[in-house]
């Protein structure tokens, strides 16, 4: 097991390096000279060149990328930073605060929103998926299916605004602005954020249940005279939930990203609003730090979920170990 985890962690390294390289390349090629932006308009070319030198922006691409990862120690002290590995990428052009300071300060808010949304999506999707599957082709099933289809098609930012219009503007049930200190105000953004995932998970639960109830062991359970409730609960549901749990795990990362738009609509102080504010102010270090941060968290969450499954379902680990032992073995096996 530990071997498996270590192997997975090693696999993560090239991916993380790739992600940081891409994000760094984007900064590097982005038009606009940060040094010129920081100086007054009438600054001479020599002054700009000097500032560029002290910011380390006159170095080659590779050197700058190494600085980005492992820190920069320039001629002065004002532009030094410890690099991405130490979560320090210098200061925001706008607020002059360390970019990761702002991110780490607001990240718990995003996590809170994400967790509430995840909880909502699970308690809604699984029961509805089961009801829909056990009553296949009834009106209930039709209603759930259509609702789920709408759920995967509605843009989150629009849904958020419509919820504000109905529940804040007209009914005055919830505030239209969300803050982490007031849990009541998080209800609408959580619903907004959860909508897409709830729909995906409902569809998944339904199709997985439909597949499982056709299995022989379900027929056996029925044949030995168990009542339908027990068959569904004990025999069908447990097996049907395996792929659902996988999807839920993958969705944690998606929720984190979806929070960017949802937070904007509700002016919720999380990573998403940092990112959008930074974009509007062309605050490049802040944008890139936020993007890299969310991408890294996304990768780590997915890895954690993968490892958790290996604990829950030994088949996943076995499959992995088998594939690693003889290269291409997995493919040849699946072709038959």
């Amino acid at each position: 097991m530990i071997k498996y985890i270590i192997r997975r962690l090693f696999q993560l390294i090239p991916v993380l390096l790739g992600v940081t390289l891409i994000v760094f390349t984007l900064t590097y090629i982005s038009p606009g000279d940060p040094a010129r932006l920081m100086l007054p308009q009438d600054a001479s070319d020599i002054q700009v060149a000097e500032l560029k030198h002290s910011m380390g922006l006159d170095r080659t691409f590779v050197v700058q990328y190494v600085h980005f990862l492992f820190g920069y120690d320039g001629p002065g002290d004002s532009f030094d930073y410890k690099g991405l590995w130490a979560l320090d990428l210098g200061r925001s052009y706008v607020s002059n605060r360390p970019v990761f300071g702002t991110i780490l300060e607001r990240f718990p808010n995003t996590v809170l929103l994400t967790m509430v949304a995840l909880f909502l999506s699970i308690i809604i999707s699984i029961p509805f998926g089961i009801i829909s599957a056990t009553r296949q082709y009834t009106k209930t099933d039709m209603a759930v299916t259509v609702a789920a289809l709408i759920g995967i098609s509605v843009p989150a930012f629009w849904l958020g605004m419509m919820l504000i219009w109905v529940f804040s503007v007209n009914l005055h049930w919830f505030p239209s602005l969300a803050t982490p200190s007031n849990l009541w105000s998080i209800v609408l953004p959580s619903i907004t954020l959860a909508a897409m995932n709830t729909a995906v998970q409902t569809r998944m639960t339904r199709s997985s249940m439909l597949e499982v109830v056709r299995m022989d062991y379900i027929r056996t359970a029925r044949a030995k005279g168990l009542d339908e409730g027990t068959v569904i609960r004990v025999h069908a549901l447990r097996n049907a939930l395996i792929p659902v749990v996988t999807v839920i795990g993958l969705q944690v990362g998606q929720l984190l990203v979806g929070a960017v738009l949802t937070e904007t609509v509700f002016s919720y102080p999380g990573i998403g609003t940092i990112m959008v504010d930074a974009i509007q102010r062309k605050d490049t270090p802040q944008i890139l730090a936020s993007v890299v941060f969310v991408a890294l968290v996304f990768a780590l969450v997915n890895l954690a979920v993968d490892i958790l499954y290996a604990f829950i379902d030994p088949r996943i680990k076995a499959q992995y170990v088998g594939a690693a032992k003889k290269k291409g073995g997995l493919f040849r096996g699946s072709k038959a």
Binding site: F157, W165, A295, F298
Partner: protein, 298 residues
């Protein structure tokens, strides 16, 4: 492969038609395409971008006097008017054009480039495959919308950069999909036969292998159009996509956002437009999957 014994297109249509929701999806898509192509006939462009301030926030179904190239005439505001008195229905119809172009162009780019890379990786294998697949893994590791957002934020908001960003982010899915299909097909007898007859690698991939790998790509591409449209409207909503005053659904929503209380119709209709078109592509994608998936074929 096995499905060619009885007019594949006819059989496909027979199976597709059975799925009523998928047919509804197709009908909606056709409607949107017609509307998008004929946008200039339904609404003259000037009047979509030109301000008609006296009619600002006209209600749904109200009439107002508009200034159409210096000529005053009466006009019916089918879906009301926005903060500048521009016709919401007209802007939605012109926005349909932008969204459909984005959807098709980005998916075509992703299918051609991603599919090509996937085919090369699957056919040749070896180091080339490793490089391509690691690249795809890295692109997949960055969440789509976030990656697109970073690209546009770095390169600056413009139509070209938006297309580029969404095209690149939708690419890796097709690399994986085509590679997997090519690998299952490339060792079959008909490919060996073609090779024995002296066909070039390029011809084998293009003529013999790829046509047999199209089914999953078609399904993914249909769903991909929905994804692209959603990404584009999201980016425009954040101010990183199509810039106002060009009519685009996302920037319409962003412009209308301050008027949620006073003029909700300026928000409701563009959102409904996005939702129905994405729903339509999702319905059609589901239908295509059922119709093309040989595993479900009786």
């Amino acid at each position: 492969m096995a499905q060619k014994h009885r007019g594949p297109l006819a059989e496909f249509w027979k199976r597709f038609r059975k799925n009523r929701l998928a047919v509804i999806g197709l009908a909606i898509i056709i409607l949107y395409v017609v509307v998008a192509v004929g946008a200039d006939i339904f609404y003259t462009y000037d009047f979509i971008t030109g301000n008609q301030i006296p009619n600002a926030f006209s209600g749904v179904g109200s009439t107002g006097k508009i200034d159409d190239g210096g000529v005053k005439k009466a006009h019916l505001y089918l879906m009301g008017a926005d903060n500048f008195g521009r016709d919401v229905a007209g802007r939605i119809i012109h926005g349909a054009r932008v969204s459909l172009i984005i959807g098709f162009v980005t998916v075509a780019f992703a299918v051609i480039v991603g599919g090509g890379l996937g085919a090369v990786a699957g056919y040749y294998g070896g180091k080339l495959e490793t490089v391509i697949m690691r690249g795809a893994d890295i692109l997949l590791a960055i969440p789509n919308i976030l990656f697109a957002l970073a690209i546009v934020a770095a390169l600056g908001p413009s139509f070209r950069n938006l297309l580029l960003a969404i095209g690149i982010t939708s690419l890796p899915v097709y690399v994986r999909l085509v590679r997997a299909s090519v690998m299952t097909v490339k060792d079959q007898e008909f490919v060996e036969a073609a090779r024995a007859q002296g066909a070039t690698d390029f011809r084998i991939i293009l003529v013999h292998i790829l046509p047999n790998c199209m089914a999953p790509v078609i399904v993914q591409a249909t769903l991909g159009v929905a994804q692209s449209i959603l990404s584009a409207t999201s980016l425009s909503f954040l101010g990183l996509g199509i810039q106002p005053p060009s009519p685009e659904w996302g920037n319409m929503l962003s412009e209308a956002r301050p008027y949620l209380i006073s003029a909700p119709h300026t928000l409701i209709f563009p959102g409904l437009a996005i939702m129905t078109v994405i729903l339509a592509y999702n319905l059609m994608g589901d239908g295509l999957r059922d119709a093309l998936d040989p595993k479900l074929k009786r």
